[in-house]
Symmetry: C2
Subunit: 294 residues, 2 copies
């Protein structure tokens, strides 16, 4: 039996740091080196995976970008998931699904199930439909030693509109956290961490600390670091001291700043491009390492 | 330029009634007549489309079921969308997507955009991430004369958990309605109806009436009728009298009761199966017609 997802993820972050590389393929931003239009996406992302090994704990394909290329894009997301796992990277498929009953079971099978599913290590889900809508994902994760990352407090400004509403004296997102808290044990590993993750935007560091109190064992998936403007300290605001004294408790996602760093689009050779992207990953890695070492 | 989505949908409901056939392919429930395992899904659903013409205003592929078959399933959902539109049926792709920024743009392109997108007539979206997460869908719908159906009050029991929280004296789902209300004009047609639809579960008829007050011009997408237990009267609780005196203002979705009626799985011939499924559609159509004629 494989180790629990939570143990695999925390182990990866202790080894390489908490960086998660978001896979957001945008054909217009990919250097001509990789070919023209959408055919450039596959070779580009394969190179990204090679560069991410030993620099990132995980990668996060954003399904919206892949689905925009139709069934071919969907197939590519599947292939990249397998390629990333083959390189020892943990894969969180970011589809933000949410549905009820047998439809939710379908999504759970699609994302966490064996082939023809993604067989991803974890998947992001949207809690607006309530706890019964999350159950099929939790069940699949339990059965297959996977993780589930629930959107709690997203990094965008509009997160205020619904997540930030005050309900019974506390914001809606805290109710989401309380709703999932009793389920965290189901995906707990031997490390004490749970693979029932919470998405906690780096743009709301104070809320991340409150969320840590509500969900002491949940690993966090932290978007909003890098291109969205939050710094490394804010990104790890919900982390806590681990066994080696460094802060731990989740992964910090960065996409655009890493995939499309300044100058990379016009790099004159593949080696130059590799150097630029590798440096962008190293910058994020070092930046996050400084934040968790404080 | 094609007519606005709202006008096309309301016209279809005036012509055939408000039935929307949910396309929930479940291989185990499909008669052996169509073949074994997942290869049975495509011919089964093609027959369903033929039977739905003149009986249903729209069809609603549930992406969760298709994605469970991997990229092939995703491709099939694309093909069925085109086949349904070729038969004059309106297609709402039910993926309940929700994301931010360029990822949301990717989903909007994937669902409402031209090939390689679905080019669906409308798509369901989840509002938990706030108004800025809906904007790319609204923009795509505006540009391409499409519709967007926002989850407001879903039909499942767990809808209480988050949607039912009291925030500033009113449930969260009413805040979602108020959040989208100022946008309804953007997708309004000449009929006065708006293609900025609201999902309003048939299991909550009193709330559907309140939702109608909050969103007087939004067409409703009503799940929960049939297999989920709500009757036709409850399903049309948010409808209002139209120009011909009958109630109108949305579509009522039914999946399981229509796709898998009693006896159909063991039908001895395709003709027998067609008769059983046709009758199941007719029952729903007549049931809904009685409810809107009151």
């Amino acid at each position: 039996m494989p180790a629990a997802f939570a143990d695999r993820l925390i182990e990866a972050t202790r080894r390489t740091g908490p960086l998660c590389v978001g896979l957001d393929p945008i054909a217009e931003h990919i250097p001509a080196l990789f070919g023209r239009d959408e055919r450039a996406i596959a070779p580009f992302l394969t190179e990204i995976l090679d560069l991410a090994v030993d620099r990132a704990a995980a990668v996060k394909p954003q399904l919206g970008f892949f689905e925009a290329s139709g069934a071919e894009g969907f197939r590519l997301a599947h292939e990249l998931t397998r390629e990333a796992q083959g390189r020892g990277l943990i894969v969180l498929v970011d589809g933000k699904r949410g549905d009820v009953g047998s439809t939710a079971e379908g999504y759970a099978r699609a994302l966490l199930g064996a082939k023809p599913g993604f067989d991803a290590d974890a998947a992001t889900v949207n809690p607006y439909l309530g706890l019964d809508s999350l159950e099929p994902f939790l069940k699949a994760a339990e059965d297959r030693r996977k993780g589930v990352a629930v959107l709690v407090r997203t990094s965008n400004p509009g997160a205020r509109d619904i997540q930030g509403l005050q309900a019974d004296g506390a914001p809606v997102w805290t109710h989401v956290a309380r709703m999932i808290a009793p389920e965290t044990d189901r995906l707990a590993g031997e490390s004490g961490w749970s693979g029932l993750m919470a998405v906690a935007g780096a743009t709301w560091p104070a809320e991340a600390q409150e969320l840590r109190r509500l969900l002491p064992r949940s690993l966090f998936l932290v978007p909003g670091y890098g291109a969205q403007g939050a710094g490394a300290r804010d990104a790890v605001a919900g982390f806590v001291p681990g066994p080696h004294g460094r802060l731990e408790g989740g992964i910090v996602s960065s996409s655009r700043a890493i995939l499309y760093p300044h100058g990379a689009q016009t790099a004159s050779s593949l080696d130059d491009w590799r150097a630029l992207v590798g440096q962008a990953m190293d910058r994020a890695k070092v930046d996050l390492e400084a934040a968790i070492a404080r």
